[in-house]
């Protein structure tokens, strides 16, 4: 290796403080990791985890406090300094160039493989082979990144970081884009690697934290509220530490029976962007006052189903009935007016207009109705009243209702979307990954609201990858595989392993595939 890295036997952050205008992001935070340890850094969104790691990587400079490596104070001016010390980070969003090969990506990321006019691809390929072998991380060095699945891209990110000679690995919510199977694989892999490396694992998925880490540090609003061994705490304890109060994700009590079929999807065939049939004769009935969970590994037609239900994708054949009215082929506007509510997958770019104020986003669907319109003009007073009411009722945390909605945290954005959709009193609601990437507190709030909505007789389709979410909330669980429903289970019959098998396309003994 050209750059020699010192063995890191301990890394400490001591009393690190970072202020942003109006926010104290980190308040005298101290953490410590020893060689071969896995530290889980947990906390809700905005607790200061990412800021702390950006300081460790040299992206931000702390206002106070210091970084100690092997007991020596060290300053990182840029990520290059951190790399030079053997610290590497895998970001939540992959930092790969999709139309280059794995080898090219690795070579681009490190000065070791670059001279003035030349990329040393041979050297990079050799290094990839070494790293793959050493850590048991098979990657196809000549594949183009955009041909790889999300799980494989994750592995490429790991290999890339390790190729830079990383001895100390930071992983920022590495499982947020992975399927349950890929997540399990990654966790096993990290466990194996920990013999050789120190790891900081940032997450708020507590079952992963429990499965992987040796020690845990809990951050809340910029301060450390707990530091200790992972095995001494249950997930419940950690959740309570994170949020500052007991967290009980609500369950669907399922006592009252559901009503008549409200939404009926029959034999739906839809093409994906690539032109193959993403939905191949999918049929589903959703009853009033029911939450129907749609479980499945992502990429099995969920996205296409959600798009069709929003009126944003054409179907090949089939029908979607809402109370006898066929909605297939109708425009998004007509579907909205028919009483369909929608919580889109990508809350930041599909659910809200980020640069619009909270007030404007709350009337995004209804600005044309008589309540908010007088002739060609908007009734600003009315929209202000509406915003005041909804922000209060849905507990949206914001400095002002004129704040750009895009600057809110994920949980608050989701509250804005939920407020808008629920205020319209929909007959049916499609909810796509409603709590993806949200912390416990926000998830709890959203789950409670969905259950309230169910109790008021709305038919809800819940599309999610989180089995726990689906099992907690659903009356019935439909499993989607390759564009068809393979099985519908009553919530009582569903267990994790059974759902896992169905999601992988293994036929159930019930046989009704």
């Amino acid at each position: 290796m050209q750059t020699s890295k010192a063995q890191i036997s301990s890394l400490q952050l001591e009393g690190v403080t970072k202020r942003f205008p109006g926010v104290l992001a980190c308040d005298h935070v101290s953490i410590e990791v020893k060689a071969g340890q896995i530290l889980a850094l947990v906390g809700e969104n905005g607790a200061g985890k990412s800021t702390l790691m950006n300081i460790l990587m040299g992206l931000y400079q702390p206002d106070e406090g210091r970084i100690l490596i092997n007991g020596h104070e060290t300053r990182f001016r840029s990520p290059n300094d951190a790399y030079a010390c053997g610290i590497g980070m895998v970001h939540q969003h992959f930092m790969l160039v999709p139309n280059l090969t794995v080898t090219e990506n690795v070579a681009l990321g490190s000065k070791d493989f670059q001279s003035l006019l030349n990329l040393n691809l041979k050297g990079a390929r050799r290094r990839i082979a070494e790293v793959s072998e050493r850590y048991g991380l098979p990657v196809h060095a000549d594949a183009y990144v955009d041909q790889l699945s999300v799980g494989e891209q994750q592995r490429v990110e790991l290999v890339k970081t390790l190729c830079f000679g990383t001895r100390f690995l930071i992983l920022d919510e590495p499982t947020s884009a992975l399927t349950p199977q890929e997540t399990d694989e990654l966790i096993n892999l990290l466990k194996r690697m920990s013999g050789d490396l120190s790891i900081i694992f940032i997450s708020h998925k507590l079952n992963e934290v429990k499965a992987l880490s040796d020690t845990v540090t809990v951050l809340r609003r910029g301060t450390v509220v707990y530091r200790g061994n992972t095995k001494d705490n249950s997930s419940q304890d950690l959740a309570a530490l994170m949020t500052g109060h007991e967290v009980n994700l609500p369950h669907n009590a399922c006592e009252d029976g559901c009503g008549n079929v409200l939404v009926s999807i029959k034999d739906l065939k839809v093409k994906s962007d690539r032109g193959n049939l993403a939905l191949d004769g999918l049929s589903l009935d959703i009853r009033a006052g029911e939450i129907l969970g749609l479980a499945g590994v992502s990429g099995n037609g969920q996205r296409e189903l959600a798009d069709v239900l929003a009126g944003l994708r054409k179907s090949v054949s089939g029908s979607v009935l809402l109370e006898e009215q066929n909605l297939l082929g109708k425009s998004p506007r007509e579907i909205i007016d028919a009483g369909f509510g929608y919580i889109p997958e990508d809350r930041h770019d599909e659910g809200i207009v980020p640069s619009f104020s909270i007030r404007e986003n709350l009337i995004l669907k209804d600005f044309g109705t008589p309540r908010f319109r007088k002739g060609p003009f908007l009734r600003l007073k009315e929209s202000e009243k509406n915003a005041e009411d909804l922000v209060h009722r849905f507990d949206v945390r914001c400095s002002s209702r004129e704040t750009a909605a895009g600057s809110l945290s994920g949980g608050n954005i989701q509250k804005v979307i939920l407020a808008r959709e629920l205020a319209r009193q929909p007959k049916a609601l499609v909810s796509v990954y409603p709590t993806r990437g949200l912390d416990m507190g926000a998830s709890e709030f959203i789950h409670t609201k969905l259950l309230e909505l169910r109790a008021s007789g709305v038919a809800i389709l819940l599309i999610s990858e989180e089995l726990e979410e689906i099992m907690n909330l659903s009356d019935r669980i439909a499993v989607i595989y390759k564009g068809r429903i393979v099985k519908i289970l009553e919530s009582g019959e569903a267990t994790r392993p059974r759902l896992g098998l169905l999601m992988a396309g293994v036929k159930d003994d019930g046989g009704a595939a």
């Binding site: 290796m1 063995q7 992206l59 400079q61 020596h72 300053r75 944003l312 998004p332 506007r333 889109p344």
Partner: protein
Amino acid sequence: MRESAYLVFIILGAIVAAVGMGAIVLKLIGVNPFDVYKVILTEPLKDIYGITEILVRTSPLVFIALGIAIAFRSGILNIGAEGQMQIGIISAAAIALAFPELPKPILLPMVLITGAVGGALWGGIAGYLKARMGVNEILSTVMLNYIAAQVYGFLLRGPMIDPEELTVGSGTPQTIRLPRTAWLDRLIPGTRLHTGLILALVMAVLVYLLLWRTTTGFRLRASGAEPRAARFAGIHVERSLVIAMLFSGGFAGLAGAVELTGVHRRAIEAISSGYGFSGIVVALFGGLHPAFIIPSAIFFGLLLIGADMTQRAMAVPANMVLVLQGAIILSIVSAKTFLNDPYTKDRFMRRMASFRLPRRKKKTVSGLGQGGPL
């Protein structure tokens, strides 16, 4: 406090950069940049003629910049104002020449509206192509500029040329003079300042109301700010694009009609003379907001007149103003990038802090670099 220091620093930096880039070019052509800047910025303000001429340039710039602002805010980059303006001029001239006997209260509005409609249709082509077939609007509007220029030149040289030019004149490509009933009045006798300026100010207010107070404006802005979210909310984004381009082209066409009826009073070559492009700079410099577009247009009016004067006074080509415009665009775009980048901001804050605090001795990374290879 430190936030605003950063803002001021970036804005000052942008101004220095723009002025500096211009200065380098001026130095290269062998004149003293300070003298040139002084002439540009002060000479036009010395007499009533200069001031009214600035305002004469201001009106078309305001109209065009308003249209550009509507388009940009609706997510479509209209680079075709120059062509839309030419189509506006030629259609307005055609109507004025076709109905010379109509009374002024009927003919003048008709001429202005026709100019706007002509520009709107020309702009609408690019909007429709984008909405229906996803044709990149930057390419289509630029190409439509060339087509418009050819159509304009053809009509002035052929069907619409002043017959006297052919029989007794020099063959100058221009129409006959418009009837007096199609003239905008002069605001100050003896100058070229006309009532189009008032119309421009009224339009700025109307565009503000359109964008921020009407449902149409809400739809346009939502489509521009995040088309995916707009689609999910049931907004017909493609329709918004076409509407935006109709408005945008309409304002460029109106600029042409006003310039025609207020200043030249006959269609000649080069009436548009780059207003379509300067209008984009005016709109960006004015933050795509009508209230700031007005001062921005006055400022660029000053630059245009000032550059003319330096040509006469110091033999610096008036095209220098294009160099300045380019420098200003580069500076605006870079300043926005800096303002939006938190890392650069953080680095700036650190530098500031280290200037203020006494320097402490710090141990750096190189301090611990022993240890064997991996």
